[in-house]
Symmetry: C2
Subunit: 375 residues, 2 copies
């Protein structure tokens, strides 16, 4: 069994081309992790997910602990076997979802108690319990339990929340059962306050983790503020460990974050947008439900090699959404995930070639063109 | 371009092992045609449909003429290109769906006028218009426009309806544009009245079609009455043409109909059931939503080689349906279609080996066992 390890293969400015080595295989970075909330990347078979180029996926502790339950997943051989994803899986700690429950949860020093959104049943999540659940799920990468603050937030409130998250990080580390090829990541908090981000990064580094996530961003603060937070935070993190920007983002968010030294990403955007008919293309986003596509024999994106683009017309995809056919969400999710993975492959190639700045400029120019003219 | 042709490869009693030769390739018979109502076999990619062994699929004229419209499909290169199904496609005539609109339609000698279930717009379907629409769709096999009667029905009403359908069959034949490798099928009506079935079969044979369907069955009359109608009708049809039992059915309906000389089938059962969590197995039907499956590590059907059975547990499939994940309907549809195609392959092999009677007995015995015991 291999040790968990992050290998840097090339750099270009702050951007890094790397490789994660885990108990469940490797993942090339910068990496985008499709979100498999309830043990499935929505609307996709695992084969389809793999075919897009994804090597690592994300699962949500909050959803899985409630349904089907961590005990059950453990009895069934863990998440990899359960959902037929033998590759690496990262699970979040449950904190983010629970914080968004607002009225349905109560926070103390010990942890958080909350009511299930499914059946109203009461549950408690502590750092120790989160570690236990993620072990039962057999997560390759476990995330510490943290409090993800809302935005905007008062400085003092952000600070006390961040310090609670740091105490929870320490308890998470103490409770985490080390296994060869498995990893525990800390999460930097501190909202958009540079001093707090630095304090948090230093606190986590002192505890020592296998990787470092930047949390509490992309919650409404805007791309400039996100990037500013990265500019402060990333240089304060150990250079030999992977960096993961949680819940981000749109393609241009990802490109900008890679330029700032981020290695890993996850976001529901490609899957959620796909289910509602929104497609990402090299020339920006389009809504396939729009009537302008009804007679268009051209593919969504002629530069894309996904089944939706290689096999079908915009007219057909438009028809599927108008007729509310399941194949519509399936094909657009597939396209969006392939679009994201093709972007990550291009990013990795540009860093290897040390042409990332040129790539970044060309990417922005292409996005700015907007969709092709109607037929 | 090949002529449309039905080749008989072997027989066993009344059962026939054959092959359809068409402009869009061949299909082995007895054949089950998955239903692709709105230019998609619901929840399946064309690759997935092909992987189950299906060689010919069905489209619904009624749905397609309303959305996306026959003109549009024609402009986009026909149904084969539109839905990425290069193989043979059979389209029904629209009659069956329109009859089920009841209050929203009006029948005359000329044809039927009806209101769209989508937007209330008015449409007319005549035998001539149905032929034109199916030509625009580029159907490999076109069905005549008929009136599909409800059941039960008075003898006199069934008779006048059947005779109207025969006049429409003659008009359909006159309006059908012959093309190499394309076919027009007549439809025998006459409900459960033997004399009417014989009259209808004789009338169609006199007109002359490339194949003969038996319509108006599986509408509530029960399996015995269906089989009785086949016992009367099939021997009255030309031996050198394919026979198609429309809208049938469950696996045991199919096995019994093959024994009576039927070559082709279609039914929404495997796809519709799959979307609601019902699975067909060699040991009968099961509902994966049932709590007894929640912890079951075994596959749906250990004799099945579909992805749902080869890759996942009953527990996982149960979870997907409880969590209302799209992958649940996708996987159960896939399983059911594979189950049907595997059944057809076994049927074909048994006829070739002249062991169809033994196969039929073994099939019934296995079905009667019921599902495996809970773990």
């Amino acid at each position: 069994m291999t040790a968990f390890r992050f290998e840097t293969l090339a750099t270009d400015g702050a951007a890094r081309r790397g490789r994660l080595h885990t108990a469940h295989g490797t993942a090339e970075t910068p990496a985008f992790m499709p979100v498999g909330t309830a043990a499935t990347v929505k609307a996709m078979t695992p084969d389809a997910v793999r075919s897009t180029g994804a090597q690592i996926v994300l699962g949500n502790t909050y959803h899985l602990m409630l349904r089907p339950g961590a005990d059950r997943v453990e009895r069934l051989g863990g998440l990899h076997r359960f959902m037929d994803w033998p590759g690496p899986i990262l699970t979040d700690s449950g904190g983010f979802q629970i914080m968004s429950l607002a009225a349905r949860r109560k926070l103390t020093e010990a942890g958080v108690t909350f009511q299930s959104h499914i059946d109203g049943s009461k549950h408690e999540l502590t750092p120790e319990r989160s570690m236990e659940i993620q072990r039962q799920l057999d997560a390759t990468i476990t995330m510490v339990l943290d409090e993800c603050t809302k935005w905007p937030i008062e400085e003092a409130e952000a600070e006390s929340s961040m310090r609670l998250s740091m105490r929870w990080a320490e308890r998470s580390k103490a409770a985490f059962v080390e296994r060869d090829g498995y990893a525990l990541f800390g999460i930097v908090q501190g909202s958009t306050f540079p001093d707090q981000r630095l304090e948090s990064a230093a606190a986590l580094t002192a505890i020592g983790f296998d990787g470092y996530a930047v949390g509490g961003l992309a919650v409404g603060e805007g791309q400039t503020a996100t990037f500013n937070a990265l500019d402060v935070t990333v240089p304060a993190l150990p250079g030999d460990k992977p960096r993961y920007l949680m819940g981000v983002g749109r393609p241009d968010d990802i490109v900008g974050a890679v330029a700032r030294g981020v290695d890993m990403f996850d976001c529901v955007m490609p899957t959620r947008s796909g289910r509602t008919g929104k497609a990402f293309t090299r020339r920006g986003e389009i809504n396939i439900r729009n009537a302008r596509h009804a007679d268009d024999p051209r593919p969504l994106d002629e530069t894309c090699d996904c089944p939706a683009c290689a096999r079908f017309s915009r007219a057909y995809l438009h028809h599927l959404f108008k007729a509310e056919e399941i194949l519509g969400p399936v094909l657009l999710t597939w396209h969006n995930l392939r679009h994201y993975q093709a972007l990550m492959a291009d990013i990795r190639a540009a860093i290897e070639a040390r042409t990332f700045a040129a790539f970044q400029a060309a990417f922005a120019a292409e996005q700015a063109k907007g969709d092709i003219e109607p037929v």
